[in-house]
């Protein structure tokens, strides 16, 4: 499981873990029933406080992404797909918000942005 912690960007570390695990699940790199490393192990691997990892796992459990099985560890929940779709939308929303903010600062209106998006999409398809 590839998680990168960047302490300089102002996002709390537990949130970085939560976001990246959600991202891994949404992108299919973590699949249902897959086991996650135990708290201590992940803490040592990422070099962060174990409580931070525990907190991230708790939050992911509340969100339904992970489930804890007593004595055997933490697993990706199997009701993954609807949630993954919600997560996918959330990831895209964040990107779109950033794009719209930039566009607004450059005085480009939304229709023009959409036209741009279409053009880029055609461009990408052509170069594939």
């Amino acid at each position: 499981m590839q998680i990168r912690i960047s302490p300089t960007d102002g996002i709390p570390i537990y949130r970085q873990i939560v976001n990246q695990v959600k991202y891994l699940v949404a992108s299919g790199r973590l699949v249902a029933e897959e086991q996650l490393p135990p708290v201590r192990k992940l803490a040592e691997q990422l070099l962060v406080n174990p409580n931070t990892v525990a907190r991230a796992y708790r939050e992911l459990e509340t969100a339904g992404v992970l489930s804890t099985r007593r004595g055997s560890g933490v697993f990706v929940s199997d009701n993954g797909s609807p949630l993954a779709r919600g997560e996918q939308r959330k990831i895209l929303n964040d990107r779109i918000d950033a794009l719209l903010t930039d566009a607004q600062q450059m005085n480009v209106d939304t229709d023009e942005v959409i036209e741009h998006v279409r053009r880029r999409s055609r461009h990408l398809k052509r170069s594939e």
Binding site: G10, I11, P12, I13, R40, E44, L47, V48, N49, P50
Partner: protein
């Protein structure tokens, strides 16, 4: 549950003209990793030396495990693992000799664990301490600090001047220590990203005074950076209520606020400024602002 391993009350310390510690109050609860940050000469080492009983509190008091480290060194030091800044190990000893020698001081010395650490840190048993590289010497000091499985681990600038590999070993040791139940860690550092990763609580010390002491999470939540755009260029940093520091030039200024974001917003609006960006602040930015205030300009 909420038993404090270290309790410091109104501690002041003066070295001739210099006030090294100014009325410091600090508690470290059991099981917590506390990161002590401050500039060089801020008083971090002086504080740590009081915890170890190497300095006697003249005003105020220091209790470690509920005991006074100066009058009861046996009851305190035997339960502390300590790595000092200058890693004052006897250079003429060989690693294995040093291990045997230190074993005599600590009734709880775990020989098997010490050997495991020696191998993990790749310390050659017959090497003389003085021939070790700086990194290996730090790991040798760490071995001695850990091998008696102390209840409290005290590290003074553990990673200063070390390469990233050794630094990882040291941070890993801190994390392993804390994940073993009930162990407490106090470490000082000026590498703030390290503190942000590993510590649960942070204490910032500046000119002998404790300027901030709280959960890392709480500190990060309370501070935000806001970028303001003023109607006209300003020659001087704006004076705004609730701002710890303001950096910038011309019409755009970035300010760090603490807690009272609403009153800051009001103050900014009253000066005709527009808030164009709001972001979370990193511990490093908070530290620099706390220590330097609005002095420095970018």
């Amino acid at each position: 549950m909420c038993e404090n391993v270290i309790e410091i009350r109104n501690l002041s310390r003066r070295f001739r003209q210099t006030l090294a510690l100014d009325n410091v109050d600090l508690e470290v609860p059991k099981g917590v990793v506390l990161g002590l940050v401050g500039e060089n000469g801020a008083g971090k080492t002086t504080l740590i030396r009081h915890v170890l009983g190497l300095l006697k509190a003249k005003t105020g008091g220091v209790l470690v495990f509920g005991r006074n480290p100066v009058t009861d060194p046996v009851g305190v030091l035997g339960r502390i693992g300590h790595l000092s800044e200058d890693r004052d190990l006897p250079g003429w000893m060989r690693v294995a000799e040093l291990m045997r020698y230190m074993q005599a001081f600590y009734p709880n010395w775990d020989e098997a664990f010490a050997e495991e650490l020696r191998q993990r840190f790749e310390l050659y048993a017959y090497a003389k301490v003085k021939t070790l590289s700086r990194g290996r010497r730090a790991l040798c000091g760490l071995l001695i600090a850990l091998a008696h499985r102390p209840e409290l681990l005290v590290l003074d600038e553990p990673s200063s001047g070390l390469d990233p590999v050794v630094r990882r070993d040291i941070l890993g040791a801190i994390i392993r220590t804390t994940s073993e139940e009930g162990r407490t860690v106090l470490f000082s550092s000026h590498l703030i990203d390290e503190v942000e990763r590993v510590a649960e609580r942070v204490a910032m010390i500046h000119n002998g005074r404790l300027v901030l002491s709280d959960n890392v999470e709480t500190v990060l939540q309370a501070h935000r950076t806001l970028t303001l755009r003023f109607p006209g260029p300003l020659m001087e940093p704006p004076q705004l209520e609730g701002a710890l520091s303001c950096n910038g030039a011309g019409r755009e200024w970035t300010c760090l606020t603490n807690g009272e974001i609403e009153s800051f917003r009001q103050a900014a609006l009253a000066q005709g400024a527009e808030i164009i960006e709001e972001e979370a602040a990193s511990l490093e930015e908070i530290f620099v602002s706390r220590v330097h205030g609005g002095k420095q300009k970018v």
